[in-house]
Symmetry: C4
Subunit: 205 residues, 4 copies
């Protein structure tokens, strides 16, 4: 039943929010979390509200166009980024947007890409069975016009293969996977590697 599917998705989203909050990755009202539902719908955290303390009312349904399915529900501005991932990547079943200190600091210093290489944890990413590969995470300038931002993101996806994640400058990271467990594992792996990068940079060139 669709209600059961939505209830399970909302529970998974709330649990993910608590784990992200434990790590300090959803400070204040930052971050958002979504799960793909059947019938071209998405369960996603509503606008505002602290993602570490989600109750049942904290998750709403939208279509792949980002529009709310129930009258009165307010999607966050960034819903469009989640839906852009689901439309482009049929295998994406869950999307996590976190807001950590390393992601924020490193994205402000980066150019168009942050490359992670030489880490065993790269194995969390598709097509990378060895630590000798590298993941090149795109970094996009932040933009309050989500439509315009999504267009730039899609242009980068058009230009060539890209990993299942990207950074928004000063605004955190988006990571996705086939389901919530995979998305959580990938986010945890990337955040670990970003923390290592930040520590390594402190030690000088």
């Amino acid at each position: 039943m669709p209600e059961d599917e939505f209830a399970r998705a909302a529970a998974a989203i709330a649990a993910a929010g608590r784990r992200l909050d434990r790590f300090g990755w959803v400070p204040a009202t930052a971050g958002n979390i979504s799960v793909r539902l059947a019938g071209d719908r998405v369960a996603i955290t509503r606008s505002g509200g602290h993602k570490g303390f989600l109750g049942p009312e904290g998750v709403i349904q939208v279509g792949l166009d980002g529009a709310a399915r129930r009258a009165g529900d307010r999607p966050s501005a960034e819903t469009g980024l989640h839906c852009g991932i689901y439309r482009r990547h049929p295998g994406a079943g869950a999307v996590l947007h976190g807001h950590s200190v390393p992601a924020t600091v490193l994205s402000r210093l980066a150019g168009e890409t942050i490359t992670l290489a030489g880490y065993e944890l790269l194995k969390a990413f598709p097509g990378l069975p060895t630590h000798e590969a590298a993941v090149a995470l795109p970094v996009f300038d932040n933009d309050q016009d989500i439509g315009r931002l999504q267009a730039r993101i899609e242009a980068r996806w058009e230009a060539g293969p890209a990993p299942p994640g990207y950074l928004l400058r000063g605004h955190g990271i988006y990571v996705w996977g086939a389901d919530m467990p995979q998305a959580l594992l990938r986010l945890e792996a990337v955040e670990f590697m970003l923390r290592c990068e930040l520590e390594a940079r402190r030690l000088g060139p």
Copy 2:
């Protein structure tokens, strides 16, 4: 009933203290937390005591002049700063004074202001709907004479628009909001940005 209102405020204050303690923002007996009550009264943490472990006796009532309403209650020295905020800012419903490592370290290095710019989390502050704005947090020298300190703070407020927060050098941060949830969100947002500033400074000029 006023007793119910006070009981609810005391519970909100104790819960806020536990969250601040989880972050390490109320070490030892540092920090204090207050909520505006009806009738020109304020519920505030009493002097001494660890703010992460507040029981019902840990919260007292004062007037907007900072004087205790019940015989024998001992307001902390900094009660005057809370009341100064409530007198000056009619929209302030809750005030949080936290004492984090980034706030302490950065305030000791700063001049009269710490400016936070380019962070998505700036949207937690009034009048700043985009990340392209900046928040200029005043920094005041610490002073054991709270009346004298409050006069300097009010002089800065007189001089021009100011955000709903300020730093005391080597002594932490004051943040306020319309109610406790908004105050907590603003404090979490500011502390996140201060942590980013500290990390960025470590990476050099």
Copy 3:
């Protein structure tokens, strides 16, 4: 009864996983944990899965050759390293492989050894009753060919005395002890000292 022994070992492994996760030492699916059983068998975390959330199905049995004892069980690639430790060191009763930020960052910068000296916590290691000794942890280049990696590790053990632990470059640390409590104490001690080393390096030469 062997089933009881295995059940107790699996419980100890799950508890160890929760403590390592609390420290952030088993991010994503990284890390693995094992306990020696009677009869040349080993209880070890299965491939994949987050080590902070192990259920009873998360632990399998292998022989000292690393092969699964039950049809369908999938040992992780690194099982060979755990078994190599048990074959070489008869006194080893538990092995912990953690994946912390300091271990990852420092191993990437190190040569063939990381030396820890002058720490009181060195007393956690055999033959070091005073803080004036030093522990020289071998550092090996990571390798997806576990057999080849184990051969290099055994060559180092052949070359002379070595402490009950080593680092894999960019891949974390292996530590062992007579039983799980001793292995946990040693891992906690080493990770503390690595954190101190990382902090000290940040302060310059």
Copy 4:
């Protein structure tokens, strides 16, 4: 009844151990905790064992000379330092020895003293009602001969006024107070200031 007094002291010690462990200040078997009892006796953590997981058997009784009161009880080597504090300072009711990363790193870099100045949290220390004072914490070279170490500590106390705490190089910090709550507050205050010192040093001269 003395048994009740000891039981209450053991419970306070275990609770303190859990809080210190939450902060990461009692890694592996490091650290120890004691409370003064009537009749020139002391309740103190026994040798070995993780101080974050103390059960009733984890606390023993010793005399002011450091000798165990019950046959078979093994005091830790550092019991002599606790007793030295109780003999010298009649007002000391509880002693905490913690082992944090900042205390370890800064003590290895320091000379004979670490001076903390300009922090509001200095008010946790006796005779310092303002933030404009300073606390000069003595730093002693570590020594496995506790009697010899205690003699050097007493020589420093003879030489002039000293704060209720000192550091052992590479080995952590000792702090005391009139009772366990005061000792815990002082330790939390000092550790916060040491964390600030470490952060400030990272930012350069």
